[in-house]
Symmetry: C2
Subunit: 407 residues, 2 copies
């Protein structure tokens, strides 16, 4: 494989970007074969700057849900932009989108909009504290809720005080949740739960009914806010909110990623119990009222409903899971697929150093399939059965290579 | 004036948005005549949902710098979107934009990109703490640096710990800055300074050379980071960074608003002393790598340079200032225009309750000119002499009304 264009860009980047790149899209975290820079995207396909084509199972780490560059979403965005995007206030799209979120999301009596998932989770925590007058926030060990100091997975650049009021529990462990609530005592403002357990490099787990009911019960008992972080999973599992699957309604939920098919948008939804507090906090951003992203979101949510996007993702995800399971058995490779089929992670047995996982992904990459060995992957409504079957040809060869190298 | 469309939208919003609206674009903070919702924008003109046209001096609170819906910027954005916006990594636009920022901004050896000004200021603070291993951040009384708990102008939803390591000083007061630095002692991580003093409702002040040199000197002495918050003023005063005007280079600077003429983008620039620390912090967002906003920013910065955008804004701002000054004298109304002419604020004497200020603005609004009585206003490169002269007709009538009502 030639990587001269990508390598040249990386070299230029090292001059003008600290460490060459930042954040979750820093390819230094990935095997050398993975491209850092991309040139084009359409449907479920990506092209890197060398012109190599991939069937993509990361979907830009989630935002792409209907297909890259979806024509219907772009048409709605363009129609809005012809009128305008930013003004000295919002456009009517904001009201329409808040109404659509309230119609769509089961627990929602109201909505507010931001630009990124971290904006949304941070806003939820502020609302919980303002509503309760309390300070402690329960968060699960290993969970990701954003990249600002209060929730950053790394301590660099943060102070101890940024996390002074976090209390940790283990996801799906009701006893640990009760212990954390007891530790918070009468200072409990809220419990943050991921839509499902999707920690990096870990087996993904749906919330158990006991855990979800337990979290709801603690909040009902104490007045704390139950906050579902649906940033990663939102609109891929259940249009009404991911915890509809376990029959529990949160008080607040954070949304972003898939909400506008790649246009930059975040959202917070909440129920009436938290409406007044949400109206008392000051949260804002220069671009939070942009009409184009909201027009794109309206088109995205409507199209997802029209075409049954979640069903498509579920069927395609199941086809991928069944295919990889059969191939793994045939090759005698032990692996574990977890997460909802439309948001899978594939972890190999006896692979603490991830050598098997990244070998598998690298072999698939060479064959035109972009997967990730430790992060949640994403299906989209643009993946077809033919794409999955083409993918399975690549995974079959990749698993053969894993079997060859690791027996 | 008929307001039926706006009123109907406000009523619908009250059902589905806490308090009817949030943040700095909540028109509840403005006189009743001000529209909440906008329908269209082009050049320096805005249309509200009733179809009323305004010459705009808020520029969407800053982002609009070349004119709403600028055709050149849109063309660059469209060309990029045809290829793609989000991928599993950035596009080459990110490298090109980092190079352009380093070429353009005097103190910059590197750049990183975000989505909003708050992202940028928060990233600067994280870098300062990571680089120094220290915690205290000096911020000016009354200054605005964003809307998350560490810097929020309101306490709602924040804990005391969120601000545990802030130490306050008064802008342009070297002695108070020295006192704050002494209070921080050997725990000083950084000093945050606005590009100029542009506090809400207060006389705007350029930084004095003594103040700027004093801030630089404290940082040189202690190893702390001098952080210029150029979010509001960036690319309106000096393309190389606003503190070029006082001959002082910061270590870090935060940018947003005008950087991409309304496309959502933030940036941090820094010097080599802070490069390693910037490479060690984890900051990211789902949409931080979007290529369309970066293509728009490349086009915006290049066009600003080509047409001499800052000179245009300065000339048009001076024309407005001179005109209003002459009118105020003619009407016997005492007022004070402050701030750089391209970012003015107009404050009336003996107007603690802002009645004169908002009367003036409301009378101008009725005559098709959108101004703000307490917030920094913004000129753009799309304002022409004819627009300013048309504006001065409105301000003349508005000042006559102020004179009539307040003598």
């Amino acid at each position: 494989m030639h990587n001269s264009v990508d390598a040249a860009l990386r070299e230029r980047a090292r001059q003008v970007i600290p460490n060459g790149m930042w954040g979750h899209m820093n390819a230094a975290r990935l095997p050398a074969a993975y491209p850092q820079y991309f040139a084009r995207a359409e449907g479920c396909r990506l092209w890197d700057v060398e012109g190599r084509e991939y069937i993509d199972f990361m979907c830009a780490y989630g935002p792409m849900v209907l297909g890259y560059n979806d024509a219907d979403v772009n048409r709605a965005a363009d129609a809005q932009r012809a009128e305008g995007d930013i003004f000295n206030g919002p456009s009517a799209r904001l009201v329409e989108l808040a109404e659509l979120m309230v119609d769509t999301v089961a627990h929602a009596d109201w909505a507010m909009f931001q630009k990124n998932g971290t904006d949304a989770t941070t806003t939820c925590v502020m609302i919980a504290r303002e509503a309760t007058g309390k300070r402690k926030i329960l968060v699960a060990n290993g969970a990701y809720h954003g990249a600002v100091p209060w929730c950053n997975p790394y301590p660099n650049g943060a102070t101890a005080e940024d996390r002074a009021h976090l209390v940790r529990y283990d996801y799906n462990d009701v006893a640990s949740l009760e212990r954390a609530a007891a530790e918070a005592g009468d200072d409990l403002a809220g419990i943050v739960v991921s839509a499902f357990k999707h920690d990096l490099g870990k087996t993904h787990e749906a919330p158990t009914k006991e855990f979800a009911a337990g979290a709801r019960s603690i909040c009902d008992r104490t007045g704390a806010a139950l906050i579902v972080d649906d940033v990663r999973a939102g609109f891929r599992l259940h249009a009404g909110g991911s915890w509809e699957l376990v029959g529990v309604k949160p008080d607040l939920a954070a949304w972003s990623k898939a909400i506008a098919n790649g246009y930059s948008l975040g959202a917070v939804t909440g129920n009436d119990r938290f409406r007044d507090a949400a109206g008392r906090i000051f949260v804002t951003g220069s671009f939070w009222y942009g009409a184009v992203s909201m027009a794109a979101s309206l088109a995205t949510i409507r199209k997802m409903k029209e075409i049954g996007a979640i069903d498509i993702m579920r069927r395609m995800g199941q086809r991928l899971r069944d295919g990889v399971d059969a191939q793994a058995k045939a090759h005698g490779v032990r692996l574990q697929q977890s997460g909802p089929v439309q948001m899978p992670v594939i972890l190999f047995d006896d692979d603490a150093d991830r050598r098997k996982g990244w070998l598998f992904c690298t072999e698939a990459l060479k064959r035109g399939v972009y997967m990730h060995a430790t992060h949640t992957m994403f299906l989209s409504a643009a993946h077809t059965a033919a794409d999955i079957d083409r993918t399975l040809e690549a995974t079959d060869a990749a698993l053969a290579e894993v079997a060859r190298q690791f027996g």
